[in-house]
Subunit: 330 residues, 2 copies
DNA sequence: CATATTAGCTGAACCGATTTAGCTTATGAA
DNA sequence: TTCATAAGCTAAATCGGTTCAGCTAATATG
């Protein structure tokens, strides 16, 4: 059923019907009677406006786009959930697309989404060259980068404070009794890896426990790296460290794989701190503290940035959120 | 940049430009030269067609919709990931919306999505009355229900075989050495809960170990229920069962919360079987078998059902997938 | 009674593409 | 030379709404 059919049934013009259905009746002085008649018929026939036609004419789409490297990552799923909810409450739908961490795919997605006239693109981006995003902004589509970005970008960004979080996380880990400390981190060429290590080091120096460092190991943020770093440590020391800092959730998984395979049980007195979080850490039978991104807050800020952009209130928002430190000492 | 501008620049008509950009040049005998000129200019100016306009005219949208109760659920996130990828490879984008398990929200979503002219709705549905989905189908939008549905529906469905999976999962659990068996399940008024228990019972009877059942407890599939059922068991027996069957992942979580709080360590010789799966189970320091839905296969079948519907090849597809049983004996 | 104002509604343009019948011009055949 | 055919392209209708200037009839005002 099209607007025209509905209008005919109600004995009014397309214009009148449209005006009523969009709630502009007052402004156009449409009489109560006519309104009721139209609305009732619309309900009766389950009339729903064609969003393509409406959007084309009034140049909106009520669509937002979210680009993620991978929807399966627990954190990104959480982010999606919150963004979707906020979008929905605000009358938008969310197109979620994955780049699979591939630059070309991401660029293709941005172009396609631009053509779809999404009203904003929110992206956990993998690219190093933002020109495709600048293109989008030039065409009037606001862009917000979450979680990561190349320094110097002119786009809106929202990230979490790695340095501060690493420091606090380390401090939490140190509140237990002293002992050998191991640090397993990622590629030091990357900003976030470096920041995490800096935070860790700072906390150690300030606490005066720097001499307890047994190992500092930088590899990369893969499960395999975690496994191999723990293997090395074990070969060297014939035991686990009393305190362990893993720079990512994946590293933690690697370490767990190793201990599951080679250890009878995890020592309960271990103080383990890791970046990345999951409710599952609450269930592990030993102490593991974590630093989690505040994805809900991130989603909220993203929507606020959008509001600001829609109203052209602010030129650029660069937001740094804190991470939540979760202390799980048993 | 609109098609018209591009056409003007290239010195051709809108029609010609459109024909070329859509790859119909051959059919319309547009010369090589003209094609090249148009395509080059399009690339140079990063021309992207307005999908609303194109879709309106040619009545397509290249949009698929996915409705989920909750995006955070690990299984649904996995399903989304696979569906998104398949959709993307087939030239579609995916609108993901959550119903938050609320009937009204789900119905509202279906209506909105209908108006958006999505080309299909794939739904993990919470409603008991499918009329809003039937409405959608009447308007030419195919619907596929995943994971759950009320019996008697005329919609396409894809689910997993709970009965068979429970049976196999129980058999896996029984391969260890005999001992006290506990079953923690959900509300027996629900089909899936009943089916799981039936499968469990059948396996026990066939194996002749039915007399080892220490407890059968039906409550509901909540974390709290898991906690409380294990608490009861522990109070009664002062120990854990040798074999434990939990009917859902959430129940498993509840049990883990209890053991983490009240037990020194999880006995390694426990044979635990649970519905629901996560990579995290690979990391737990004891044996926990699981039955996981084949979400990737589910996504694949869903897309195939869509193909069939688009071609009007089949009237109705009702698919039952097996669950994958993962044996994790340490 | 004439004119101004208001209430209530509508016609027609428009959004930006796709689609198809058909118009030129060039080429070939008779 | 003349007509048929083919090559290459375009004009105009169309999709289904929104938007706004403006029309008509009714009421108010002087």
């Amino acid at each position: 059923m099209k607007l025209e059919d509905l209008a005919r049934l109600a004995g009014v013009s397309k214009s009148t019907a449209s005006i009523i259905l969009n709630g502009h009746a007052e402004r156009y002085r449409i009489s109560e009677k006519t309104c009721e008649r139209v609305l009732e018929l619309a309900k009766k026939h389950h009339y729903v406006a064609n969003a393509q036609a409406a959007g084309l004419r009034s140049s909106n789409s009520k669509l937002l786009a979210l680009i993620l490297p991978d929807l399966l990552h627990h954190g990104f799923a959480e982010l999606s959930k919150h963004l979707e909810r906020l979008a929905r409450k605000a009358g938008y739908q969310l197109i979620i697309s994955c780049s699979d961490d591939e630059t070309e795919m991401e660029e293709k997605l941005v172009r396609t989404l631009t053509g779809r006239k999404v009203e904003a693109i929110i992206s956990v981006s993998t690219v190093t060259d933002y020109s495709v995003y600048y293109q989008a902004e030039k065409r009037g589509i606001p862009v917000i980068l979450l979680d990561r970005f190349q320094s110097g970008t002119k786009l809106d960004t929202i990230i979490s404070d790695d340095h501060q979080a690493a420091k606090e996380l380390t401090q939490t880990m140190l509140t237990g009794r002293p002992g050998a400390i191991a640090y397993f981190g990622g590629n030091q060429a990357l900003d976030n890896c470096r920041l995490r290590f800096q935070g860790f080091s700072e906390a150690l120096e300030e606490s005066g426990e720097a001499e307890n460092i047994a190992t500092v190991h930088h590899l990369d943020y893969s499960v395999e790296a975690g496994y191999s770093m723990m293997k090395d440590y074990f070969r060297q020391h014939q035991s686990l460290p009393e305190k362990l800092f893993t720079g990512s959730f994946t590293l933690m998984e690697g370490v767990l794989q190793f201990t599951r395979k080679h250890l009878d049980k995890m020592p309960e007195q271990i103080d383990w701190a890791t970046f990345g979080d999951s409710y599952i850490l609450d269930l592990l039978p030993f102490t593991i503290h974590s630093a989690r991104q505040q994805y809900e807050e991130m989603a909220k800020q993203a929507m606020e940035s959008l509001d600001a952009k829609f109203d052209k209130r602010e030129y650029q928002r660069q937001i740094v959120l804190s991470r939540e430190i979760i202390c799980r000492r048993i």
